[in-house]
């Protein structure tokens, strides 16, 4: 087991503040979706976080660890819930703006860059610890891929009349 830090400091505060701000904004903003759709859109982010963290940060090559130790901690579990508000507002703003289809790649690019910015701050706070040659910049194609999948999901729901 690798121990990076043993104190309650920047990484824990980043997770708690990030989660609280995200949840408050999700609740405070005017509703655009039904409760079921909002729940799915929120869970998209949480699921994506779990999916990639549990496929890239597991043996045989663990490319990164989350928070203080390489074991699974309560704070790791809480940190994945931060992504929920990100996915919710990804869908929320898209639904609000209703841009032309030709602007979808640009919309995804802007969101991916914003997520990279947030991840960079998270790395500075000690939330992520990269290893085995993994670099911060490798997250960029993952964000593009994930958000493209979210967009496909949005249009699937729209076609079925859920949105």
């Amino acid at each position: 087991m690798i121990v990076y830090d043993t104190r309650f400091n920047a990484n824990e505060w980043f997770v708690i503040v990030g989660l609280c701000v995200g949840v408050v904004l999700t609740v405070v903003f005017p509703k655009r979706f039904s409760r079921q759709v909002a729940a799915v859109f929120f869970m998209c982010g949480v699921y994506s976080g779990f999916f990639f963290d549990h496929s890239l940060s597991v043996e045989p090559v663990s490319f990164y660890d989350v928070n203080d130790v390489s074991k699974f901690q309560m704070m790791d579990f809480i940190s994945y819930w931060m992504y929920g508000a990100v996915s919710y507002f990804f869908f929320y703003i898209y639904d609000r703006l209703q841009p032309k289809a030709s602007y979808i790649p640009l919309y995804i690019l802007v969101w991916s860059l914003a997520c990279m910015g947030a991840e960079w701050i998270a790395v500075l706070c000690g939330v992520y610890h990269y290893s085995h040659g993994y670099k911060f910049i490798y997250c960029f194609p993952i964000y593009l891929l994930v958000q493209s999948a979210w967009m496909a999901l949005y249009y699937t729901f729209k076609r079925k009349g859920f949105v």
């Binding site: 079921q36 998209c44 949480v46 699921y47 779990f50 549990h54 043996e59 045989p60 699974f72 729901f157």
Partner: protein, 156 residues
Amino acid sequence: MSIAVCVFITWCTIVALALIPKKLTSLEMVFLFFVCTIFELSVFNIFNLNLQWMMVSKNVEKSLADLVMRLICIPVALLMASNFILYSSKFLKWGLTAAMVLLGVLMQKTIEWLGILSTPNWNIGYTALLFCSYIVFTGLMTIFITRLKQAEGQLA
């Protein structure tokens, strides 16, 4: 070999999900797929990383096969269970749910037999209990997501 077997089992599970009569909408199924994966991964991580009761092989092929099972096969199987829970016939509901627990135990035995997972401090009873807990969680989440729609309908 292990990856081929796991992908085949996973594909059979997807085929089964596609064929069964469904009681949930696609929106509800997407939600349940997400929450089942999150719950199952979290529980497995505690047993694997923290308690070390289950150890995943460090071989690349076998660890990929484990990911296929953890990220696709088990959540899809739990989605099937969530549909079974909503069947009106009690015999079908409980019979099929019990069959899902049995299939989960067999799935776990298969991945142990393939050398994907080693279980030094574990027995078959724990596996059955683990799959029962997954199904109880799935049932609770099914109630939650279906009630969410009903509650909204009442408010409107």
